[in-house]
């Protein structure tokens, strides 16, 4: 029974895949958030040039920027507003996605937990931004924020009394300006650095096409619906109706119904709950990858391919002639097996010893067992078009697609598949090999299917050798809900194989990777 939240997410992802393919915004939510942040940063710098940071001058300067140079300052202000809102929207989707796909537990607890303060930093940055306009909305927020701060034991109720007519002065603006323009952005970048600290190959820019499309969308929105202010702040009157920005200011109305202490309790409660989620319940940790120096030549490809920076390189310690060896940090290892697929020694043709040993292996699913399963599957195949189908634990269920002429083998991740194993299957009786990892561009283990596709296309080591006929290999990823689509692709592949000539004679068993 598939979790309904996951089903809902996968439906949304499938819908966006129709038009965006590899640009699917759901695959780039982190980089899109960064991109919206860059837009807000650039537009913010422009606004700062014309902004007058004083109690009497702030509102008038924002109005001048908005109305007197609507074609530049007005657009920049709207871009600043909408890109900030879009950043929160992508953060919310980012959280929803990782939650729906279960990508927040186990080794991923670190990114999840460090993401929560990053979210609050973004919200605080937005709140101080709204203060600077010093309109009625800013007044409402300032008083609400002061009430919240007064609840903290360091202020002792002294903040709200600043917002009494006649007591407020320009020092308040200097403080808020400092926070919004310098303090908070620096803090945010610092927190974001922590957020991605345990990932390798981190991108902070979305694909060019998606970036251009998103920028155009924000620009069009800014021209159609320019951002405007409320009437100027006046501490002797109060606004009756407020056009709140619900992305940033959603907790403020609660202050009309609850005490500040209750609002804090809710905020802290939600924060603590979110932070504890990776352990509710805790995911059972799979054994980490294990290095076998007897079979490791120190090529460091596993180090290059590890998506979680769990592998490091150091000088050889066993006296072998190779320069390097790799070391796995068990605390960082996600046990995805991508390193096994990257290891040149994961070559099933090696039969000098009865069991296959490789340079880096998964104790819970060693490469020898993968080869044994492949051998068993090859023997079990019947019919004219014999297909071996390699899948993964997180994508489409390959066991459910098995038939007389199709045998499925479920790897931990499709990135665990060594190209030599594909060649091995083709040279030992299979007419074709289908690889069905997660959906294209997406991967539960970040880069598994991407590295696998590059290896099969001979653009990443270890490469698939040219003697394996490319037309006998088909890659069609799919989520657990995509069984029908993958079955259709499998059927088309079967038909394609049926018109191909049978593979040539069995390859030399002693041959090993050319590299």
């Amino acid at each position: 029974m598939l979790n309904p939240v996951k089903r809902l997410y996968l439906l949304l992802e499938a819908w966006l895949n129709i038009s965006f393919k590899e640009w699917n915004p759901l695959y780039h939510l982190g980089t899109l958030t960064f991109f919206f942040f860059w837009i807000a940063l650039v537009s913010g710098v422009y606004l700062f040039l014309f902004f007058h940071g004083s109690l009497d001058g702030a509102y008038a300067s924002v109005e001048r920027i908005t109305n007197e140079q609507w074609y530049a300052g007005g657009v920049m202000r709207s871009l600043h507003r909408y890109s900030s809102d879009a950043a929160v929207a992508t953060i919310i989707l980012h959280i929803f996605r990782e939650f729906a796909l279960g990508r927040y537990r186990g080794i991923r607890w670190y990114s999840w937990v460090t993401g929560i303060p990053a979210l609050w930093m973004v919200v605080l940055l937005g709140i101080t931004g709204y203060w600077l306009v010093w309109d009625q909305l800013a007044q409402y927020l300032a008083i609400g924020s002061a009430l919240l701060m007064d609840e903290l034991p360091i202020f002792f109720g002294s903040m709200s009394s600043n917002f009494v007519d006649g007591r407020l002065n320009d020092r308040f603006f200097i403080l808020i300006e400092f926070l919004h323009l310098l303090g908070q952005p620096i803090m945010l970048i610092f927190v974001l650095w922590f957020h991605v600290r345990r990932l390798s190959n981190v991108n902070i820019m979305p694909p060019k096409g998606l970036a251009i499309g998103s920028l155009l969308a924000m620009l069009v929105l800014s021209l159609i619906k320019p951002a405007t202010s409320h009437p100027p702040a006046d501490l002797t009157t109060l606004p009756a109706v407020l056009n709140l920005d619900w992305f940033y200011l959603n907790i403020y109305p609660l202050l009309d119904y609850w005490t500040p202490g209750q609002v804090w309790a809710l905020v802290m409660g939600v924060t603590v709950l979110l932070m504890l989620m990776p352990w509710l319940p805790a995911k059972k940790k799979a054994p980490a990858a294990v290095v076998d120096l007897n079979n490791c030549n120190g090529c460091t490809q596993c180090f290059e391919d590890c998506p979680y920076d769990a592998i490091s390189v150091r000088a050889r310690t066993d006296g072998a002639r190779h320069e390097y060896e790799v070391v796995v940090d068990p605390d960082l290892c996600a046990a995805c097996g991508i390193c096994v697929g990257a290891c040149i020694s994961s070559n099933p043709f090696r039969k000098a010893e009865p069991d296959l040993h490789t340079g880096i292996d998964m104790p819970q699913f060693p490469i020898n067992e993968v080869r044994n399963l492949t051998d068993t599957a090859l023997v079990a195949l019947r019919g004219d078009t014999k297909i071996i189908m390699f899948g993964c634990q997180h994508g489409v269920d390959v066991d459910g697609l098995e038939a007389q002429d199709i045998q499925g083998i479920k790897l931990i991740c499709s990135g665990m598949l060594p190209p030599a194993l594909v060649e091995y299957a083709l040279s030992n009786g299979a007419d074709g090999v289908m690889i069905a990892g997660c959906r294209h561009t997406d991967c539960y283990c970040r880069f598994g299917n991407r590295w696998m596709e590059q290896r099969m296309a001979s653009s990443r080591h270890p490469v698939l050798r040219a003697r394996a006929e490319a037309e006998r290999i088909h890659i069609h990823g799919g989520a657990i809900t995509d069984s029908r689509a993958v079955a259709k692709a499998l059927d088309e592949f079967r038909q394609k194989l049926s018109i191909l000539e049978k593979p040539g004679p069995r390859l030399d068993e002693s041959c090993v990777e050319d590299e």
């Binding site: 915004p25 409402y140 109720g157 009494v164 155009l216 009756a240």
Partner: protein, 172 residues
């Protein structure tokens, strides 16, 4: 074949525009809507704002020579002045009905800080009689500071009942 490919590309781009439009619409809508009604059309707000130190709870006392002798030489102060201050009690009523009844304890490790009170309440606009009392000493019966005033509140007006130790309560 080329026509089909072109058609697919057209549909793909059209769908992309639709998706961008949905995202833009969501961002635009929630950036300023739904509107939040903070005050009903006939409502005003009364705010009480006080920053004041309560009276010292105990008076200074002269330390006896015997007690002084027990102290280290650098600690021998002739007067012992406890720092703890009285809590502050504030009552605000409108047309005889209680709006606020606040007892604020002095902050700080030694309960010697200045009390800051800022509270607000929504009331119906119109003519009202306001009365405010404050007691800042546990030794005093009744209230040290008292003020009252008839005020006509306009809708959306914020009436500030401010306090300073020289003028007492001021209605702004």
């Amino acid at each position: 074949m080329k026509a089909v490919w072109k058609m697919n590309k057209f549909i793909k781009h059209t769908l992309q525009i639709v998706n961008y439009a949905i995202f833009m619409a969501l961002v635009w809508y929630f950036s300023a809507a739904p509107a939040y009604r903070y005050l009903e059309p006939n409502q005003a707000v009364v705010v009480i704002s006080v920053s004041h130190s309560g009276e010292l709870l105990k008076p200074c006392r002269k330390v006896s020579a015997e007690d002084l002798a027990k102290l280290a030489p650098n600690m021998r102060k002739p007067m012992d002045c406890p720092r703890e201050r009285s809590p502050i009690k504030i009552e605000v009523s409108m047309d005889g009905e209680e709006l606020f009844n606040i007892t604020a304890q002095p902050p700080g490790l030694f309960a010697d800080g200045s009390v800051n009170v800022y509270r607000s309440v929504k009331v119906t606009a119109g003519q009202h009689h306001f009365e405010v009392k404050m007691n800042d000493s546990v030794h005093l019966q009744g209230s040290r500071f008292v003020a009252s005033q008839n005020i006509k509140l306009e809708p959306a007006q914020q009436l500030l009942i401010d306090f300073n130790s020289e003028d007492g309560f001021v209605f702004k």
